[in-house]
C-alpha cells in the first residue's frame, strides 16, 4: 500500500519530480486501492486483463466526446464553424478513445456529443441525429463492457422530440444522463421555453451534462482577437438556469456544467452580490428565483476539470465546492491526447490526496455508482 503522506508530498511539490513520476504516483494509489477492490470484485480483474498496459484503472472521465462518422460526414462544416481550425476531432475512432483511456488509467468515460449537438434547425433531422448518436454510443458501450457510459443527446429546442428521446434514452438505452448545450437557436438553456424538459428531467432525478456552444446569433464574432464566445454562452446558460428559477424549481437535477469552473465563481460573486442574494457583496435578502440563496443553488452544481487551471481550482475551494469537481478531458478536443494532458495538469495542481481521489473517481461514483 502507498503511504498517503508520500503521495501528498509528491503532489504538493510539482517540479520536484518528472510528470512520469506523478503518474506513477497515481498508479501507486490506484494499485493500492485496487488491491483492496480485487479481494471482493472479480469484474475489476476482468477489465484489468483487457487492458494493453495491464495497469490498474480507477479514473472516471465524465467529459468525453464521440465523433460518429455519420455526424462528421453530415456536419463537418458546422463543427468547424463553432471550432475554427480544430481538425484533430475528425480523426476520432472508438479505438483511439480506448487507447488513450488505457494509457492514462481511465476506467470509464461517459460519452456525449460536443457542440453544436444534434440541432441544425430541422425537427426531423434533430430527432434522427439524436437517435443515431445515442444508438452509436450505446453500441460502443456494448463493445467495451464497463468502459463507457452515456449522456444522451436530445433535439432541443424541439421539446416534443426531446421528451420522446429522454424516454428512449433512459428507459430503453439505460443512459446515465442527458447532454445539453448552453443555448439553442440563441435561447439560453434556462429559458422558459425549455421548462417542460427540465421538469421531466427533475422528475427522473436525471444527471444533466451541460456543454458549451456558441449562441447562433454570435457566430459572426468567432475568431476575432479576444473571442470569448464559449465562456459567454457558459455565463448565459448558468445565469439563465439560476435567475430563470430552474435550479430552485428542479432540486433533484444533478447538473454537471462542463467547463463551468470558469464562470460559476464569477456568477457567485457578481450575480450573487449584485442581484441581492447572499453573495459575498452583502445582499438584500434572497431573490425570488433562489429562495434559499444564490450560493445554495450554485453549490449544488458539478463542474469538470477539462482545460481548467490552478486558479479555478482555488476558486472552487473558496466556494467550498471541492467535492463537486469531476475529472473530465473534452477528448478528442483539447490537444493531441486530451486524456493524458488533462491528467498531467491535474497532477500538477496543489491538491490533497483526498481531493485528488474525489476528483478522479469518488465524486463521479456518487453520481454514477454502477461504475464502482
Amino acid at each position: 500500500m502507498f503511504t498517503s503522506k508520500a503521495f501528498i508530498s509528491k503532489t504538493l511539490t510539482p517540479g520536484a519530480e518528472s510528470r512520469r513520476d506523478f503518474l506513477a504516483g497515481w498508479g501507486t494509489l490506484a494499485a493500492g486501492a485496487l488491491g483492496v477492490a480485487l479481494a471482493g470484485a472479480s469484474t475489476s480483474r476482468a477489465q484489468s486483463s483487457s487492458s494493453k498496459l495491464m495497469a490498474p484503472r480507477r479514473i472516471i472521465d465524465v467529459h468525453h466526446h464521440i465523433m460518429p462518422p455519420f455526424y462528421i460526414h453530415e456536419h463537418r462544416r458546422d463543427q468547424l464553424k463553432v471550432g475554427p481550425g480544430i481538425t484533430q476531432i475528425f480523426e476520432w475512432i472508438p479505438e483511439q478513445a480506448i487507447e488513450r483511456m488505457d494509457a492514462s488509467g481511465v476506467a470509464a468515460s461517459i460519452l456525449s456529443i460536443s457542440t453544436p449537438g444534434p440541432w441544425f434547425g430541422q425537427k426531423e433531422e434533430g430527432r434522427r441525429l439524436s437517435r443515431q448518436i445515442n444508438d452509436y454510443a450505446a453500441k460502443m458501450r456494448e463493445t467495451y463492457p464497463g468502459r463507457f457510459g452515456l449522456f444522451a443527446a436530445i433535439p432541443l429546442p424541439d421539446t416534443e422530440g426531446s421528451m420522446k428521446e429522454i424516454e428512449y434514452a433512459f428507459d430503453t438505452l439505460k443512459a446515465d444522463g442527458i447532454g445539453l448545450m448552453t443555448s439553442y437557436d440563441s435561447l439560453p438553456v434556462g429559458s422558459r421555453e425549455f421548462a417542460p424538459v427540465f421538469d421531466e428531467l427533475n422528475r427522473r432525478k436525471a444527471i444533466v451534462f451541460l456543454h458549451r456552444t456558441v449562441a447562433s446569433c454570435c457566430m459572426n464574432l468567432r475568431g476575432l482577437p479576444g473571442d470569448k464566445e464559449f465562456i459567454i454562452d457558459d455565463l448565459r446558460a448558468l445565469n439563465s438556469l439560476l435567475t430563470g428559477g430552474t435550479l430552485a424549481r428542479c432540486p433533484d437535477l444533478r447538473l454537471i456544467h462542463a467547463h463551468g469552473d470558469k464562470t460559476l465563481p464569477w456568477v457567485a460573486h457578481h450575480i450573487g452580490a449584485g442581484g441581492g442574494g447572499e453573495g459575498r457583496g452583502g445582499g438584500r435578502g434572497n431573490p425570488a428565483y433562489a429562495p434559499q440563496g444564490v450560493l445554495h443553488e450554485l453549490q449544488k452544481i458539478y463542474v469538470d476539470t477539462a482545460g481548467n487551471s490552478q486558479d479555478t481550482m482555488d476558486d472552487m475551494r473558496e466556494l467550498g465546492m471541492m467535492d463537486q469537481i469531476m475529472f473530465g478531458t473534452d477528448n478528442p478536443y483539447g490537444g493531441s491526447d486530451a486524456v493524458r494532458e488533462n491528467l498531467n495538469r491535474l497532477m500538477g495542481f496543489q491538491l490533497t490526496q483526498d481531493e485528488l481521489d474525489a476528483i478522479g473517481r469518488g465524486t463521479a461514483l456518487k453520481l454514477l455508482p454502477k461504475f464502482a
Partner: protein, 346 residues
C-alpha cells in the same frame, strides 16, 4: 366627490413633501464644499429621444424615467449630494443607428446640447462627446469638433458597434487619433446588435457580456498596448476586470501563468491596470478585486449612471457598504478624477 377633509389631507401631504425637499436642500453641502466628481452621468437630450425613442426601448434603455429626464433631475441630485461636477455622456445605444447622415447629425445635436448645459452652469458639467462610430470619417470630424471647438473632456464610445467589439482593429484609425490627442475615452456598455433578441430574456446578461468582449478585445487584440496614451475609462468595467485577468492567465490570487504576451509586454495585470473604471452600481466584491489588482486607489472613479442610477444610492453604497477605507473612498469620490481632469481640481 372629495371631502374637504380629504382635500386638506392631500394638501398637508403635499406640504410635507415640499418641506422635506427644503430640509434636504438645507442639509446639502454648500457650493464651496462640493467636491465629488461623477464621471458617469447621462443626458437624454429631447431631440435625441424624439428621434430614437423606439430604438432606446428596443435596446432596453427606454424606461419611462429615462424618457422623463430633464437637466433639473440631474442638478437636484448633484446639489443634494455635494457633487461638484458631472461629466456628461450619452448611454446605450449611442448615436449609431445604421445611417451615416443620422449618426453625424445626432452626435452633433447631443454634443451641442451638453456644451450648452455646461455654459448654463459653469463648472458643473463636463463632456464626453458622442461620436458616430463605426462611421470612421464622421467620427474623426466629430473628434476634432469636440476637442477643438467644444473643449470636451473626452469622447464617449460604446462597447461594440454593429456587433464588432470596440477594441477591434477595425476601429484603430479612431484610436490613432485619440492616442495622438492623449484623449480620455469613456466606454459604455451596450448590447451587441446580434444579441438584441436576448435582451428580452429576463435573465439576460448582454450588457456584462459586451463588457467582457470589449475589455478582452482591447487587451488581447493589442489595442491597449498599441495606444498607450489613450486613457480608457471602462464604465461598469469593475465587474469584468478581474475576470478578464484570470481568463488570460493572470489571476488576482497568484502569479501570472506564462511569459508576458506581445499584447501585454509589461504583464497582463499591468496592462489592465492602465484602464480606469467607475463605481456605478458596483458591489463589494468588485472593490475587493480592484484592491487586489492594485487599482482601487488610483483607477476607480465615482459614477452614478444617472438617470438609470441615482446619485445618493451610489454615494451611500460607496461610503457605507463597499468595505472601503476613508482614503479609498476619497480617491474614488474625487481624487483620482482630479488627477485625470486637472481642470476640475478647484
Amino acid at each position: 366627490m372629495l371631502s374637504r377633509r380629504q382635500i386638506l389631507g392631500g394638501l398637508t401631504a403635499l406640504g410635507a413633501g415640499a418641506l422635506l425637499r427644503g430640509d434636504l436642500t438645507a442639509q446639502s453641502p454648500p457650493a464651496q464644499t462640493r467636491r465629488v466628481i461623477d464621471v458617469h452621468h447621462h443626458i437624454v437630450p429631447p431631440q435625441f429621444m424624439a428621434a430614437h425613442r423606439d430604438d432606446m426601448v428596443r435596446g432596453g434603455a427606454g424606461q419611462p424615467y429615462v424618457q422623463a429626464w430633464t437637466p433639473q433631475v440631474t442638478l437636484e441630485q448633484m446639489d443634494a449630494q455635494g457633487v461638484a461636477t458631472s461629466i456628461l455622456s450619452l448611454s446605450t445605444p449611442g448615436t449609431w443607428f445604421g445611417s451615416v447622415q443620422d449618426g453625424r447629425k445626432m452626435s452633433r445635436i447631443v454634443n451641442e446640447y451638453a456644451a450648452q448645459l455646461g455654459r448654463d452652469h459653469t463648472g458643473r458639467f463636463g463632456l464626453f462627446a458622442a461620436i458616430p462610430v463605426p462611421d470612421i470619417d464622421g467620427t474623426l470630424k466629430e473628434i476634432e469638433y469636440a476637442f477643438d471647438v467644444l473643449k470636451a473632456d473626452g469622447v464617449g464610445i460604446m462597447t461594440s458597434y454593429d456587433t464588432i467589439p470596440t477594441g477591434d482593429k477595425t476601429f484603430w484609425p479612431v484610436f490613432e487619433e485619440l492616442n495622438r490627442r492623449k484623449a480620455v475615452v469613456f466606454m459604455h456598455r451596450t448590447a451587441a446588435t446580434c444579441c438584441l433578441g436576448l435582451r428580452q430574456d429576463p435573465a439576460n446578461q448582454e450588457f456584462i457580456v459586451d463588457d467582457l468582449r470589449a475589455l478582452n478585445g482591447f487587451l488581447v487584440g493589442g489595442t491597449l498596448a498599441k495606444f498607450p496614451d489613450v486613457k480608457l475609462i471602462h464604465s461598469h468595467g469593475d465587474k469584468v476586470m478581474a475576470w478578464v485577468a484570470k481568463l488570460n492567465g493572470a489571476p488576482i490570487n497568484g502569479p501570472q501563468r506564462g511569459p508576458n504576451p506581445p499584447w501585454a509586454p509589461d504583464g497582463i495585470q499591468a496592462q489592465l491596470r492602465k484602464v480606469y473604471v467607475d463605481s456605478a452600481g458596483n458591489n463589494k466584491f468588485s472593490m475587493i478585486e480592484l484592491r487586489a489588482l492594485g487599482m482601487l486607489a488610483t483607477r476607480v472613479m465615482f459614477g452614478t449612471d444617472v438617470p438609470w442610477g441615482n446619485v445618493k444610492n451610489n454615494l451611500d453604497a460607496l461610503r457605507e457598504r463597499m468595505g472601503c477605507s476613508r482614503e479609498e473612498i476619497e480617491a474614488v469620490e474625487y481624487k483620482t478624477a482630479r488627477q485625470l481632469f486637472p481642470k476640475y481640481n478647484v
